[in-house]
């Protein structure tokens, strides 16, 4: 039987969120609401020094004066920030020395996700800092890293043990007053990861963090800080899945990367949060501020595969401050059903001879809206800046939309900027060609989508590339093989 487009469409519609389960672990949760007392309480719970509390309060003071932005090409019901609980931690603290002590239910969760810790320990050589509702509960491979002088821990631990580093760098790339969601995050962040690579060290393994949103009604406010000292290298992976929820969950994370002279940071994300059901009900709001700063000869490379979330609002950016620095952005954004994504990047060229590359692939299906919004800015003093941008969109069906909003601002004559964008659909003759050779329509679409995204998938580290394909598969039900 021929697999028709209608059937495919139906299948896509009916595809339920595979990872929709909910782990029942007792949580230590603060009452909903946001005020100075809550922030002080969060800070106290985390046993933070005074400067940190003051920093949070300052951010909160500023947040109160800000209004939620609405310029993005997305429509959603604005969350009520007073009905969210801003702190939730699994109660089984303190930490475990070995996996045996970990709540078996939690381990079971990981098994369902296919990221069983013990397996990964053996096979992948990946240190996993598992974040379960805002607090780290398991960290592995710490010893190996410690030998190299690499610090990889939760940010609350870093605040306790390396306050000088945190104090110096936190908010240096994304200031607390940067935008509405960054200010909110700065005021209430509960946990996140901290990573420090000392001078001249090449991190021997891929560092990885799994974020999970678990407790109902808890917003996740992660704060990630990665510092690569001179001539160091690190590859950092971030992957996300969330259980099914009916009400919208808010996620406003901040990620700051600092690459000092000659350093290189590779930051990869696979995001597969609950996108809402096929009627567009529920799903995660993902409002993230990600930014990296490049000093001389430094390089920051963002790779992202966005398949989840009901609303995505995310622009991983590079500030190319040092001479000869390089910024890269590779993205696949896949939207289905009623998902909305407004994502892209900002490349700010400040130093001389800076280079940036933007490759963005948008795939829209169902009734989703997928936008690319990017800025390439060359300041008057940035000589010989070079940028290449390519934004391709693939539309599946005529109920979805693909949009491109590139902003190009150039004030230096030596700059060389190229931007190109195309929008297309899967050609009928392409599918016919495959059918003719015995490949059914479903597989043919998989083949074509895979080929379309290949440029970006290739940029992912090995460990992640497999998972990324799996996630594309989930979002486009079996059509990716």
């Amino acid at each position: 039987m021929a697999y028709t487009e209608q059937e495919l469409e139906k299948d896509l519609k009916d595809k339920e969120y595979e990872y929709g389960f909910y782990t029942d672990i007792k949580s230590d949760t603060l009452p909903p609401g946001l005020n100075e007392d809550i922030i002080i309480a969060i800070s106290k719970k985390k046993n933070e020094p005074d400067w940190m509390t003051a920093w949070r309060l300052e951010a909160f003071k500023h947040w109160k004066t800000m209004t939620e932005p609405n310029w993005a090409n997305v429509g959603y019901e604005k969350p009520d920030y007073q009905s969210i609980s801003y702190y939730s931690a699994p109660s089984n603290q303190p930490k475990y020395d070995s996996l045996d002590e970990v709540d078996p239910e939690l381990l079971d969760t990981f098994k369902k996700l296919g990221i069983s810790i013990d397996e990964q320990k053996k096979l992948a050589g990946v240190a996993v800092d598992v974040v379960m509702d805002s607090v780290s509960v398991a960290t592995t491979f710490k010893k190996t890293l410690a030998e190299k002088g690499i610090i990889f821990c939760s940010i609350s631990e870093a605040i306790q043990e390396h306050p000088e580093l945190v104090k110096k760098y936190i908010g240096s790339v994304v200031p607390p007053k940067d935008n509405f969601f960054a200010a909110l995050n700065s005021a209430v962040f509960t946990d996140g990861s901290f990573c420090y690579i000392p001078k001249g060290v090449r991190c021997p393994m891929e560092l990885s963090t799994y974020f999970r949103i678990n407790q109902a009604g808890t917003g996740q406010f992660e704060r990630t800080l990665v510092i690569a000292e001179e001539s160091s290298y690190v590859s950092y992976l971030e992957g996300c899945t969330a259980p099914m929820r009916d009400e919208n969950q808010l996620h406003a994370a901040v990620v700051e990367l600092i690459a000092l002279d000659n350093a290189e940071i590779k930051y990869s994300t696979v995001q597969n949060w609950f996108p809402g059901n096929k009627e567009g009900k529920g799903g995660v709001f993902n409002f993230v501020t990600k930014r990296g700063l490049c000093e001389k000869n430094a390089k920051i490379s963002w790779t992202q595969v966005e398949t989840g979330s009901a609303v995505t609002w995310k622009y991983p950016s590079c500030i190319l401050k040092g001479d000869n620095s390089i910024g890269e952005f590779y993205s696949i954004a896949l939207t289905n059903n009623f998902q909305q994504a407004d994502t892209g990047t900002k490349m700010i060229h400040l130093g001389n001879n800076t280079k940036s590359t933007i490759i963005s692939k948008g795939i829209s299906a169902g009734r989703s809206q997928n936008s690319y919004r990017g800025l390439v800015k060359v300041s008057p003093r940035a000589k010989n800046a070079r940028n290449f941008s390519q934004c391709d969109s693939l539309l599946m069906g005529n109920k979805c939309g693909a949009h491109t909003f590139p902003y190009i601002e150039v004030s230096n004559k030596t700059a060389q900027i190229e931007h190109e964008a195309t929008t297309s659909k899967i050609g009928e003759d392409q599918i016919f060609y495959c059918n003719q050779r015995g490949i059914d329509t479903e597989k043919a679409i998989a083949l074509i989508v895979n080929g379309f995204s290949k440029e970006v998938l290739n940029k992912l580290p090995m460990e992640f590339a497999v998972e990324a394909q799996k996630l594309l598969e989930i979002s486009l039900e079996g059509s990716v093989g």
Binding site: L395, G397, G401, I408, N412, T423
Partner: protein
């Protein structure tokens, strides 16, 4: 008094003095109300992000010139395309100058907006077309409120205008600063053909602000070929709002040549209301000093099987700034759309700036839409090639720039315009063309 208040109070006086149909009165009143609430656009608005009107709104413009200044043909001769036979509709300080014009009512109408608005025989046409494609936007509404004079061109079914029509606006500098708001209405009925050349020019160094609105209706299989030449004095600013409604099988092409003026803003909007339509938007911008040129285009594909082609080239010297803000909107039903948008720029000096925002908004899946935007320098290898063959660097550069801009001229259908613009480009870039034009 601020310009906005001045305009609002002038409106009362203006309305009392003219005797027009009720319908028009209503349209005007509605428009002024809209302008009163919206005010002038500012940089917080996305469409005006890169263009600020603050500097030009500071002037104390007079809204109506006090007396008529007579100018002779010799004063304006160099601004006309005089080597071909054309109809001419000439306005001096916003007022029709009959002794300089050559209008017609023979096979088609090429006359005045004021008479079209006032005379009973035009009533059904005005009712059908006037202010029908122009949306409520602050500057357009302002123009609508003060709409009185401009060109009115109507080509009936199946008629091809035998010679081009020139619309020329001159300002004499009789006033310290003058604001003029021409309103043009151009209707090409089914199978009609027309070529139009539009130009604004100031004859002195006093400040002039022109806020012009042109509505163009192209009927079935009609062909409209429109040229805007913007090469005004550095004291003049132009805000040009053009709205084009196209019916099936029609072709409208718009060439915009921006070489002068203090601030030039082109709001060019195409609405495709039938299938198999072709819309062509081309532009060459060559500016220097502190000039600012902003091209803001919209092509709205509303029906299937249509095409649009956009090609804008810009060369920016000294402290000039350029903006390209192009939008292609493809509706759900507009399948098989073929839309292309290209914007290429060269910055000559360190302080020149270009802000480009080519946007695609696509809701249909079976379309071919692409855009490209480049900002760069001249090809070093091409330069080297020419220098190795004895062409001095300065001239080699100029030749390359000339070739870059000249690309757009291929689609110009009136040879005299092509010749003039080619000369103008050569003059701007400072190249001595070694061949005859």
């Amino acid at each position: 008094m601020k310009l906005k208040e001045k305009l609002l109070s002038s409106f009362m006086a203006f309305e009392e003095n003219i005797d027009l149909e009720n319908d028009i009165h209503n349209i005007r009143n509605e428009a002024i109300k809209y302008f009163e609430t919206s005010g002038f656009p500012h940089r917080k608005q996305e469409a005006w992000k890169y263009t600020s009107l603050n500097a030009i709104l500071k002037e104390d413009y007079s809204i109506f010139p006090k007396k008529e200044e007579t100018i002779e043909y010799r004063d304006i001769k160099k601004y006309c395309i005089h080597d071909i036979d054309t109809y001419q509709i000439v306005f001096v300080d916003g007022i029709y100058a009959s002794h300089l014009s050559q209008t017609t009512h023979d096979k088609f109408d090429a006359c005045l907006m004021s008479s079209a608005l006032n005379k009973a025989k035009y009533k059904p046409i005005i009712k059908k077309y006037f202010n029908k494609v122009a949306p409520q936007e602050s500057l357009t509404a302002l123009n609508t409120a003060f709409s009185y004079e401009g060109a009115y061109i109507k080509i009936p079914k199946g008629v091809a205008a035998e010679k081009p029509i020139q619309i020329l606006n001159f300002s004499t500098g009789n006033e310290h600063a003058l604001m003029i708001q021409p309103r043009n209405l151009i209707i090409a009925e089914d199978n009609a053909q027309v070529q139009i050349i539009e130009r604004h020019h100031s004859l002195t160094d006093n400040a002039v602000l022109t806020n012009s609105v042109t509505e163009i209706f192209a009927g079935k299989n009609a062909n409209v070929d429109y040229y805007k030449i913007q090469n005004d004095k550095i004291t003049s600013s132009l805000i040009d709002n053009t709205y084009i409604s196209q019916d099936r099988d029609s072709e409208v092409s718009m060439h915009t040549f921006s070489f002068g003026g203090k601030l030039t803003r082109n709001n060019l909007n195409f609405y495709q209301n039938g299938s198999n339509i072709n819309s062509i938007l081309k532009g060459v911008t060559i500016i220097e000093g502190k000039q600012h040129v902003d091209h803001n285009t919209l092509v709205h594909h509303r029906k299937p099987h249509c095409e649009s082609h956009q090609d804008y080239k810009g060369i920016f010297a000294e402290k000039s700034t350029g903006v390209f803000n192009g939008k292609v909107l493809v509706d759900k039903i507009a399948q098989k759309t073929d839309a292309y948008q290209s914007n290429n720029n060269i910055l000559i000096d360190d302080q020149a700036t270009i802000n480009s925002k080519p946007q695609l908004e696509i809701f249909a899946d079976d379309v071919k839409c692409s855009h490209g935007c480049t900002i760069g320098q001249l090809d070093e290898e091409a330069l080297f090639y020419m220098r190795s063959r004895g062409i001095p660097e300065k001239e080699a550069r100029a030749l390359l720039m000339y070739a870059f801009a000249n690309n757009v001229l291929n689609s110009v259908k009136i040879p005299e315009i092509k010749k003039r613009i080619t000369k103008q480009i050569a003059l701007k870039i400072g190249v001595q063309l070694g061949f005859d034009l």
